[in-house]
Amino acid sequence: MTSQLPDISERLDHIVSGLPALAPELVLIAAFVASILTGLFVDRLWRHATFTVALIGITLSAVCSSFQLAAPDADGVLFGMVATDVFSQYMRILIAIVGLLFACFVQASPDFGAHRKKTGDLYPILLAVQIGLNLMALASNWLLTFIAIEMVSIGSYLMVGYLAKDSRQTEAAMKYVLFGAVCSAVMLYGMSLLYGFTGNLDYTSAQHIQGLTGASPLLVTIALLFVFTGIGFKLTFVPFHFWTPDVYQGAPTPVTAFLSTAPKIAGIALLANILYAWPPDSFAYQHLRLLLVAAAAVTMLWGNLAALRQTDVKRMMAYSSIGHTGFLMMAVLAYSAQDHTILLYYLAVYSLMNMGVFMLTGYIESRTGAVDVRQYHGLGRAMPLALVCFTLIMISLTGIPPTSGFVAKLLVFTAVFHDWQTTGDIGMVVLLIVGALTTVISLFFYFKIPLHAFLKTAESPSEIKPLRHSILWLAVLLTVAVWLLGVFPDWLVG
């Protein structure tokens, strides 16, 4: 035995020594197991048991990550498969916050409460997805990336189809699974090509970069395209966005909120990690950059233009999130490895806004049944607080001062301009102009909400069902945060 594996004890030591760096994931795994057990046995006695376990688990993992902020980077954890730098710690915390918001949203959502499956099984799925998301943000190895993405995907499929109330939801889940599976397969194929070129799966290693430089440019481009099919699927940039509107519209609202936020954060982290692992003068980097500049510009335009035609609120927000993906990609392109303030700020603000919007959408839908903007007529009078908050968040999403959405946009513009000044890349100017133009376009559809809610009056007063206000107050809190962070951005960044 020892002759076959001469260094097994050293290897084990290495793995064990790296475990503290993965404490947040370990906590999540423990919570995952615990939540399955409580779901099976304790929920009958106290119906909030699983919810509580999930909350505690996610909070603890966030606390663990924040402890690691102070600690120096752990090098070569799990044989260099995982890179834990400050950036990924922040990402973990952000993902945890989104997970917490999602859990609260689910708990308050009447759809889930009334469903015969209850929520007991949803929280373990959430915890598993959280692990996957964390790994996506941490991975520095193609294989681990693939596993993380798959983990997130499989969990997401289950979430989308969790309620399966009507055929539309089932269709959404089915579409999601099919597209997801194809994209994963293509990505895996691309990774195998990359492995063939370089003989190494760690994309930060010198061997990998050298291998890419040595291989035929055409083949490398094809391989990268394949890999980015998978990442693009998670990030929903054009042309891999086509599944989003249907899935976002069909999925239960809390799930849509989660899917349009958390996987995007992790995906952007992954993109940033890949892009900045490679030296700027390498062929692969330049090629990838060109692809991403084009994708970012097209994504911004397409997302915002397509949103103009939508009348279903969730579908419209799906396109809006595609537009924001383009903006985030622009931020990634302009971001440099030492400095992640801008990207983090944008991601944090985007998460708050997006979760807030979907909470309000869900709240309004459960109270009035309105899913289309035309059904929002006169709601401004009937539910003033909800619609005022909705409008305030829309203002922030458009990027009008004095909101945090504006500051985030300004910071991204600043970074892109600076990047253009230092590199002279004309693509950055194009991005700046497209970014500014789409801001104007986005006003048009974001303001459909206040237009229909406040400016138009209802022909017949709509029936309003009573509902607990917990979710509304959470949304109010998010709105206040979005505005305060706009006036005092130092509170977040300082």
């Binding site: 400095d339 303030t341 513009f413 970074a415 006003l443 048009f444």
Partner: protein, 533 residues
């Protein structure tokens, strides 16, 4: 004297808006009294500041010459290799902004007076009006570009809702059109702000800055930076500084508005409720002119000089085109809206001359147009309130039905068309003198532009007098018959109280223009020197 007088002036409406939130929705009347109290308090405050304002305080590019300055650090963001983001809460007034601040306070009081009968959700209405009030005061005081931009954009939101909820039949269309036009201009302005930020450093700290005054001094530009005059950078074949000037100019020109970017204005004016029309014409259009002087000219003087001929041409086209279109209108409010386009053209012609007379005239014209257009829109609103119609051909012989109202209209019309003795005359004459002298003084504008400007005055006399004749003289004949003639009662005491001060002010400034010119003179001189040196 309280050192934070200006801050109090800006944020007083915010306090009022918060107070309105607390008052229960049942007390409908409380809102308008809170609003009126705030407006009057602001008027007294700004009047006091106007009185205290020292005429030697030129301001423009020197902080020590600004008055009522508040300068505290606001946002300090460390952004790694992008350096530290330095944003200050920096406000102050000089001769450019002081009269406009007073004007804004005055117009606000008039607008609140005109909103006395608002029934539809009074709480929301007055809260939005107060936020608008705050934003307007902020725009005229901000000296940090970031702060300026925030107030500038903040004006849009309340206006969108005020037009969109309380407006006329096509209010949704007008509201979004107005919003889109302005946002289109300002988003690109944001890009220029970012560019300026990277080009300019604060000489004291060495960090990049949004301070407008630092942007006006060529010594603060980083060598080789995008907007540095010496670096001569280009983008798409256009010199960077010219590009920056054009983008900023378009952003403000949409507000002024100039032909051909004016098409939002008739829609917004016609659909907006009377008080909002008053604010739009009285204050919002001035923001455009103010922005051109304070920002475009002061930060990009070289590009401004280079574009003088085009600016003058745009001014002349606006004057003539606005007047001709006004002549063809059948709706009284639309006619007045187009007359605004024509009168604001004088502002552009005046500033394009780059002479002291022209610039002072432009500023004077802005002030004069501010309360004259407010008066005109208020008069239209009085008519509309009574019979819900504004068609010029639907009325005849109003003079016999509403004698006092007719007197007001006649005075306002004569004042607006530039009759000597009223304020508009002074403004327009100064502008034309400036434009006429430009050929000999600096050779920037040809003489025919001044002559074309005078033709504009002639045309404005034509449409005002013709309208007076069509609507007010002759035998009373109304489209609505006896129902209308009963509804058309003469001006009420409230309306008289609002109208009289405005007309008196028009006369006072016309007879004794030094009231305003004394305060603005030093700043105009400093500005012209900064631009032409």
């Amino acid at each position: 004297m309280n050192p934070h007088l200006l801050t109090i002036l800006i944020f007083l409406p915010l306090v009022a808006a918060t107070a309105m939130f607390v008052v229960p929705a049942g007390k409908r009347n409380a809102y308008k009294y809170i609003a009126l109290a705030t407006g009057v308090l602001q008027l007294v405050l700004s009047g006091g500041m106007y009185y205290l304002f020292h005429p030697k305080g030129a301001g423009i590019s020197q902080e020590r010459l600004y008055q009522f300055v508040d300068h505290v650090p606001w946002i300090r963001l460390d952004m790694g290799n992008l350096g530290r983001l330095e944003i200050d809460y920096f406000i102050g007034v000089d001769g450019l902004s002081m009269p406009l601040l007073f004007l804004s306070a005055l117009v606000m009081v008039i607008a609140i007076g005109a909103s006395w009968n608002v029934q539809k959700s009074a709480k929301g209405y007055f809260v939005l009006l107060m936020i608008l009030d705050m934003a307007v005061m902020g725009v005229f005081s901000a000296l940090d570009f970031f702060l300026f931009y925030i107030f500038y954009e903040l004006m849009l939101l309340p206006l969108y809702f005020l037009i969109g909820i309380w407006g006329g039949a096509r209010r949704e269309y007008a509201a979004i059109k107005f919003f889109l036009y302005t946002l289109f201009g300002s988003v690109f302005m944001l890009l220029i702000i970012v560019g300026l930020y990277f080009s300019v450093t604060n000489p004291e700290t060495g960090a990049h800055t949004f301070n407008m005054l630092h942007m006006m001094d060529p010594a603060n530009y980083v060598p080789g930076s995008f907007f540095s005059a010496l670096a001569k950078q280009e983008l798409f074949g256009i010199p960077a500084r010219l590009l920056g000037f054009i983008v900023l100019f378009i952003a403000f020109a949409i507000k002024v508005p100039i032909v051909p970017l004016h098409t939002w204005l008739p829609d917004a004016h016609v659909e907006a409720p009377t008080p909002i029309s008053i604010i739009l014409a009285g204050i919002l259009l001035k923001v455009g002119g103010y922005g051109i002087l304070r920002i475009c000219f002061s930060i990009f003087p070289d590009a401004a000089m280079q574009s003088a001929w085009w600016l003058g041409l745009i001014g002349v086209v606006s004057i003539i085109y606005g007047a001709l279109v006004a002549l063809a209108q059948r709706d009284l409010k639309r006619m007045i809206a187009y007359s605004s386009v024509s009168h604001m053209g004088f502002v552009l012609l005046g500033v394009a001359s780059f002479t002291t007379e022209g610039t002072a005239g432009a500023l004077f014209q802005m002030i004069s147009h501010g309360f004259l257009s407010a008066a005109l829109f208020f008069l239209v609103g009085m008519l509309y309130d009574r019979v819900h119609d504004r068609g010029i051909y639907h009325f005849r012989g109003l003079a016999t039905l509403m004698p006092r109202y007719t007197v007001f209209v006649a005075i306002a019309f004569f004042a607006s068309l530039g009759l000597p003795g009223f304020s508009a005359f002074i403004g327009e004459v100064f502008v034309i003198i400036g434009a006429f002298n430009a050929e000999s003084a600096n050779g920037l504008l040809p003489r025919w532009m001044a002559i074309a400007g005078s033709v504009g005055i002639l045309l404005s006399a034509a449409y005002f007098l013709w309208t007076l004749q069509r609507m007010f003289f002759g035998q009373p004949r109304l489209k609505g018959g006896t129902v209308w003639s009963e509804a058309l009662t003469d001006a009420s005491p409230r309306e008289t109280v609002i109208m009289v001060p405005m007309l008196v002010l028009a006369l006072a400034l016309g007879v004794y223009p030094a009231l305003a010119l004394d305060k603005i003179n030093a700043s105009v001189l400093a500005l012209v020197e900064l631009v032409t040196k």
